[in-house]
Symmetry: D2
């Protein structure tokens, strides 16, 4: 049966659940899963509904718009595989994990290509039959390098870009092209250890727990809305290197969990936060 | 403002959210929090709604019954403190934790009394100004002992009975008097290590993780619906005693978390499982 | 049987384990537990040994000093209960947890007194038969207030001072009086959310995990050597207040774990880090 | 510099650390890492020492044997990559994870071959340049099938055999051929949910946490010494299938962690337990 996901966010007011569920009912749709949430401080209403049944797309949206407040965001997404391009540098653990999941249908997406600013991960990628583009940043200005990346990305036109340990800082102009469409994995439990060498920082600080953070990229480095985080215990006997090794497992799992939410339209961005319907 | 919690479970059918939210809307009630869940295997619908506003109790229930399937369970609870009696044996950690939380208003209940089959915890309890009843089981048949417990419990008429390390097995007759009203903390990660001495069992088995389980008591020992569980890492260097000591912290936190759900009407029991609206 | 803990840290060199264990053997002592660690970056050796048997204290230290490098730190502690004073402000969860543990012999210490800059926790403390001193900071300069605290602390001469949610910043002069003898519980996963209102900060940032950190106090706010940390998952549906409530459980467990290590002489401080023999 | 791992287990007696460290010292070896543990109930001593320096293998063992109790086990292993054969059925997540780690040098082993009783994972394996042997069990008696497996295994003569979701029960005769050399990943938090379909069992029981267990295989199904375990939270909204999907991540991480310990000679087996020097 045909399935769609309806995503609504709007100013809160009395009767929203009633009005929306009435429209769904009168369109003869079945609700497979439903969740609502009201963010109290901003008084904003969020609703995610999976509906089953034949659906008059334009008509449904039209009817909803008629009853919802004027400033509402309403999206109606067909349940289907999304398109993704992955960007990498040298580290294999996140990319390898994504490629295996992708191969066996565990990610709700098609990886159209992998782009690297090094070519170390080319053999791994091509082994899975996926195109790899080596876009060397050496000898290029940041703008020139990003220009080449943009050209490729425009060709693939992916719905999401996954930074799977892509170790280059992106310019505000690049980021602005993909609002809430760039998912990054950062190798620390943000906001601790922003910036370079977080495992070294964690080692120096003598923390007893390290972590990883998947987040949308915004213009502030490591500051975008957080999608998923997890941690692992460490102790004094571990070097910065051994912390990094242990941390790699957290990174790849956290990234995969975040993508599972994002690719299934379970994530709303609200200011600098996410609202996630599990 | 007056607050109520509406709890509905019934066979699933199209339009339930619409019909229920329409009634809430037409009774001029505001939805403060709302959650629904459909259990697919049994095709059963669960909904928990916190509503704000003046409310005609009988009329609201009547209107809901008119539109819901005949086999529906509908409860409408005023948001308020519940009443509790705690039963204990010798161990202080869970009771001590509950007493401190209770004293500082962290538990949504009034602890009317503590009953012990030993009197070790009497001074601790009375220090918090709460009556302690020492009901010695020695020299009494199980039935005679439970008879004394029941007499006390009938006097207090608590909504919930919390077994905070009460180390006596209760008879089916006793349990049947308090269906889904007896909350127990078991010192293992059920269903592992059912029965006596779970830390000793865990030690013998050489597990790397131990845990605790809060659950409703049913007639099968350690087999009732699970409300909350958590775990902690252990290793070969720990004796059964040191595992127990580490486990105590998990026990008291898991019990408190379970009570937080139960006392705020967030838990439905469905067969041998719980459905919890966090 | 008499038990002692031997704690050695010194520059690393070949043969340390051999030389130390030979001395222990020739003093007819039994090793109940032994651990060594070499910190590679600073090339420093740490050893903690629990020995059983009658012991000539001065002679053993003398013999050890003769074979160890000149810059060695050597401590020999009789296994016994330590003395502690707890300092608090208004929040009950950490103090309540410590008092219950203390009462039932779970902490390897005697709590000599509790000092508060508010008197809210006086009844709780006195219920456990422990003196409470209310040292109001209002109308006093920081120095004058700390002068009163110091006077009391000098009277009790505790081996450790536990800041169980003591919400005043201490002056460098005060801190310098108790090097590595002040244990604080900070209500965030340091180094994230240093300073005031960490739960509010965590809420604003939209993190998916919050935590707590027990650490020795040094002159830099929230910057001393970390002893213990733990975390708990949160989500968008939680307010700053509900995060704080969930966080309280982490705080009290992390503080108790840290004290278990500290009070049993399991913690070495090395620069701004701890080395802990579990 | 040459590195060796010395592994000793023997009845405990006074002076063992001294006698062993004296021999190491007098052989001019440097101790890179050292750990000891005494299992109290059986009064058994375990010691793992990484030594650096040129080493007279036979002489060192001879000298150690002369001072240690007669029933001692003494092993001296050169630090090097181990050899492994992986056995699988249909599921890709554990094998895929091992292949990526192996490719990038994260596992201290050479995977000589993968053997499957289905051929689904042949393309994945061969993509990484590793031989895959499809040994169909259909139409064969258990003994005949195992005979074919044994023939292959004898050819490769691996030091360890990893059952990476190999879903066939092995006969006692097969298991007896590889004492403590078969590492299995079981998809539950043992001893909960022994046997088939543990995720279905977990779903039916309504647990709030699921897990995975890596263990050595012995003749009792899912009963061998546990090496590593980890868990993940689940809730009522998850089907048995979604629990399995979430569990896959735990399985692959737990298996990799166990192999990291095993392949670096960090694991002693003692009765039905492991003693692990992290």
């Amino acid at each position: 049966m045909e399935k769609h996901t309806l995503l609504i966010d709007c100013p809160d007011e009395k009767g929203l659940v009633y009005k929306i569920s009435e429209i769904i009912y009168k369109h003869h749709l079945n609700i497979a899963e439903n969740g609502e949430f009201v963010e109290r401080e901003s008084s904003r209403f969020f609703m995610r509904t999976e509906v089953e049944g034949a659906l008059a797309h334009a008509d449904l949206l039209h009817t909803l718009r008629a009853v919802l407040p004027p400033e509402s965001n309403i999206r109606l997404e067909k349940v289907r595989k999304k398109t993704v391009v992955v960007m990498v540098t040298k580290e294999a653990h996140c990319l390898g994990d994504l490629l295996v999941r992708h191969e066996f249908g565990e990610l709700n997406c098609t990886i159209k290509a992998v782009i690297g600013n090094h070519n170390i991960l080319q053999p791994l990628t091509e082994r899975f039959g996926i195109p790899f583009h080596f876009i060397n940043h050496e000898g290029l200005s940041r703008e020139a390098h990003e220009g080449k990346l943009l050209e490729l990305l425009e060709g693939y036109a992916p719905e999401w870009i996954v930074l799977a340990k892509f170790m280059r800082v992106l310019t505000p102009e690049f980021v602005a092209r993909f609002p809430h469409r760039l998912v990054n994995i950062h190798h620390s439990f943000l906001p601790a250890f922003i910036g370079a060498n977080p495992y070294r920082q964690a080692y120096e600080r003598g923390v007893k727990i390290i972590g990883a953070t998947a987040h949308f990229v915004t213009n502030d480095l490591d500051e975008g809305p957080i999608i998923s985080q997890d941690v692992i215990s460490v102790d004094h006997s571990q070097s910065a290197l051994s912390m990094a090794k242990a941390g790699h497992d957290v990174e790849k799992i956290v990234l995969a969990r975040a993508l599972d939410k994002v690719l299934n339209d379970r994530v709303f961005v609200h200011g600098n936060k996410t609202i996630i319907f599990d």
